[in-house]
Structures are given as structure tokens and as C-alpha cells.
């Protein structure tokens, strides 16, 4: 039995559940946090989404089929939670998601939890010009250096499609950087 299988069994056992869950969070909190933060940008929003992600993992651990790796499953939940979050935020402000992201990028420098320089801000704006799926692929590959086969499990997309998507994303961002 692998460490992951052992952890999953402990998570499904009410007696060991809490301790195992604490270990799970310790193991993945930072990776998931940064994945979420790249989507929602603000720390407070990322914190909300991270907590919701872990709560969903806890509540749905019994439906985890073990067809994929546990962390891929958790990444999927985190991605869905983050996208749902910004969709709701956009709906509340009566704007579409791309408009919201442009606003978020424009006001990034006002965030006390952001210390990026001009080029980093420009990069963020360039990422927000991409379609949603390409944004995810670019973030996972460029910042998190996730392998394509792992990314394939998280985003439920073929490796070939992911490679093509990343290539297109890189080209678009390069063009944006050159033109700004």
C-alpha cells in the first residue's frame, strides 16, 4: 500500500480522519494556495477558496474513486472552486470574467500583498488576455512547472492538447510583452 493509499484509508476512517486530514492539508496547502492565487490574485480571496477546497475534499473523500492521484483530484477541486469564485465575483459586479480580470490586473499594484515590479504586472495582464483554459495551462506549466501527464489528470485534457495550448499561450504572451 502506497503512502497515498494509506492516507486515503485514514481519511475515510472516522477514527483517524481528523489527523489524516491535517496531514493532507500540511502536504498540499502551499501548492494549492499558489495555484488558486494565480487565478483569483488577492490573498483574501485565495484564502477563502483554499479553505473551501479543503472543506470540499473532506466532505467528498468517500466519493474519491482513486482512479487518479489524490493531489490531481484536489487540484481539480481547487481549480473548479477558484473559477467558480471569480465567476460569482464577476456576476456580482455585473461584468464578464475577462473584464473582471482586467480590472484585477489594473489594480494589482494597490494590493498590499503584492510587490511585483512593472514587468511582473505586465506579465499578469498578458496572462489575463488568454482564454480561461490557456491561463490554467500556462500557470501550471510556467509557474508551477507541473509535468504534462500530471496536468492531464488535473485538467482532464490530453497531453498533446496541453502542449499545443501552452505553445499558443507562450506566443500570445510574448507578443503582448513586445507590444507593451
Amino acid at each position: 500500500m502506497t503512502d497515498e493509499q494509506l492516507l486515503v484509508n485514514q481519511l475515510k476512517n472516522p477514527k483517524t480522519q481528523e489527523q489524516a486530514f491535517r496531514s493532507l492539508m500540511t502536504l498540499y496547502k502551499e501548492r494549492l494556495y499558489w495555484h488558486i492565487r494565480k487565478i483569483v490574485l488577492s490573498h483574501d480571496d485565495a484564502d477563502d477558496v483554499l479553505q473551501n477546497t479543503f472543506i470540499k475534499v473532506f466532505k467528498n473523500i468517500h466519493s474519491f474513486k482513486e482512479n487518479s492521484k489524490l493531489y490531481s483530484w484536489m487540484y481539480r477541486i481547487a481549480t473548479n472552486e477558484a473559477i467558480t469564485f471569480i465567476n460569482k465575483k464577476a456576476a456580482k459586479q455585473h461584468v464578464d470574467i475577462s473584464e473582471l480580470q482586467h480590472k484585477m490586473a489594473d489594480t494589482l499594484h494597490e494590493d498590499t500583498n503584492y510587490t511585483g515590479d512593472e514587468i511582473q504586472e505586465l506579465l499578469q495582464k498578458a496572462i489575463f488576455t488568454l482564454p480561461q483554459k490557456q491561463q490554467l495551462v500556462f500557470n501550471l506549466k510556467y509557474f508551477e512547472e507541473m509535468k504534462y501527464n500530471e496536468m492531464s489528470e488535473v485538467l482532464e485534457t490530453s497531453v498533446g492538447a496541453l502542449k499545443a495550448s501552452y505553445f499558443h499561450a507562450v506566443k500570445k504572451i510574448e507578443e503582448f510583452l513586445k507590444s507593451h
Binding site: 481528523e18 486530514f21 491535517r22 492539508m25 500540511t26 496547502k29 502551499e30 494556495y33 499558489w34 492565487r37 494565480k38 490574485l41 490573498h43 484564502d47 483554499l50 479553505q51 479543503f54 472543506i55 473532506f58 500583498n113 503584492y114 510587490t115 511585483g116 515590479d117 514587468i119 511582473q120 504586472e121 506579465l123 506549466k141 510556467y142 509557474f143 512547472e145 502542449k163 501552452y166 505553445f167 507562450v170 506566443k171 504572451i173 510574448e174 510583452l177 513586445k178
Partner: protein
């Protein structure tokens, strides 16, 4: 795509350091994540317990509620319709008169007209017939007893005498009726026959 490939197709992007994203987190944030999530889960569980309603309902109560309510509404509607039928709008305005009419009707007052028809008219007819027979015959001794009822009837029929109660009353204004006919003196059959023969509505209006 490795760093060399990235530099080839996107030189500007490859210049940006991957490690410096500019995103910061509050101090000690990651040390508090587990406690925050577990506290959130416990709070949620506690809230769920508080939300749980201690009051129970009988089994299938909510499944049958619509039928019960509809049945009650129908029953109320039927009852309301019955009340409307039984009590007219003017019922309470006329109830005193109705009561007095009932009280008066218990003494069985019979109208003068009907009394004339029933009792006085035959007597009057008989008297006038007696007078006619007396005048028309040479016999000096004609009495009621000497005339059979059938002879009187035949005479009326053969002579086509059309005579009604009012005509007779007009012919004999001197006849005074000072006493009421006691209802006790009338048999049930007589009353029944009378009510059958007469138009009941006209009697009610006359009274």
C-alpha cells in the same frame, strides 16, 4: 518546453524570473491554514446540529397535506352553500312576522268566504229553493223535510243555475255570521278535502 526552447520562441518572457511573481502572503499564514479549515468544518457541523429541527411530524404528513387541506376547503364550501340556502337575506328581517303568523295560524281561523261556501251557501240555496217551490206550487205545505237533497240538486243542474258564493252572499246581505266555526268541530277529513279542493296559495294570500 524547456528554458532554452522558451528563450527561442519567447525571449522576453524567458527574461522574467519564474521565482519572482510579486505575490506575497501575510506572515505565518501557512502555519494557520489547517486550524482555520478544521475550525470552519467544526463550526459548520455545529451549525448543522443547531439547524436540525427537534420537532417531528407523523410519517407521510407532508405527502398527504395537500389532500387534507383541499378536503377541508371543499367541506367548508359545501357547509357555506347550505347555510346560504337555509337562511335567505331577508330571513332575520321577517322572522318576527313569520312567528306571529305561525302563532295565529294555530287557532285555525277560517275565512268568511270559505265559511259561506261551506255552510251558508247550501243553507241559502235550500232556503231560496224552498221559497221558489212555495211560490210555484199550489201546495201550501212544502218543507225542507219534504224535499229530498237529490231533488234540489237535480233542479239546480237542470235549470243551469250558475251561482257562486259571492253572488249568494250579495243576495242575502241580511245574513250575519257572528260566531266563528270552531276548528274542533271539523273532522280531519273535512279539512283535508277542503285543502285539496281549494287553491292553497290563494288561501295563504287571503290570510
Amino acid at each position: 518546453m524547456n528554458k532554452e526552447d522558451l528563450h527561442k520562441i519567447a525571449p522576453k518572457l524567458s527574461e522574467i524570473s519564474l521565482k519572482k511573481t510579486g505575490f506575497k502572503i501575510p506572515a505565518n499564514y501557512f502555519e494557520t491554514v489547517e486550524d482555520a479549515v478544521i475550525a470552519e468544518l467544526k463550526a459548520e457541523k455545529l451549525q448543522q446540529k443547531q439547524v436540525e429541527n427537534p420537532f417531528k411530524t407523523p410519517e407521510n404528513y407532508f405527502n398527504s397535506l395537500e389532500d387534507i387541506v383541499l378536503t377541508k376547503l371543499k367541506a367548508e364550501a359545501i357547509q357555506k352553500n347550505n347555510i346560504n340556502e337555509e337562511i335567505s337575506d331577508t330571513y332575520f328581517a321577517n322572522v318576527e312576522d313569520a312567528v306571529f303568523n305561525k302563532i295565529n295560524s294555530t287557532s285555525k281561523v277560517i275565512s268568511l268566504k270559505s265559511k259561506i261556501i261551506k255552510y251558508v251557501a247550501p243553507i241559502s240555496i235550500a232556503a231560496s229553493l224552498l221559497l221558489i217551490f212555495t211560490l210555484n206550487t199550489n201546495s201550501n205545505k212544502v218543507t225542507f223535510d219534504s224535499l229530498a237533497s237529490s231533488e234540489i240538486e237535480n233542479w239546480i243542474n237542470t235549470n243551469n243555475i250558475d251561482i257562486d258564493a259571492l253572488s249568494i252572499a250579495a243576495m242575502f246581505p241580511e245574513i250575519e255570521l257572528t260566531t266563528e266555526i270552531d276548528s274542533k268541530s271539523l273532522s280531519d277529513d273535512e279539512v283535508a278535502n277542503y285543502l285539496t279542493d281549494e287553491d292553497l296559495e290563494s288561501i295563504i294570500f287571503e290570510n
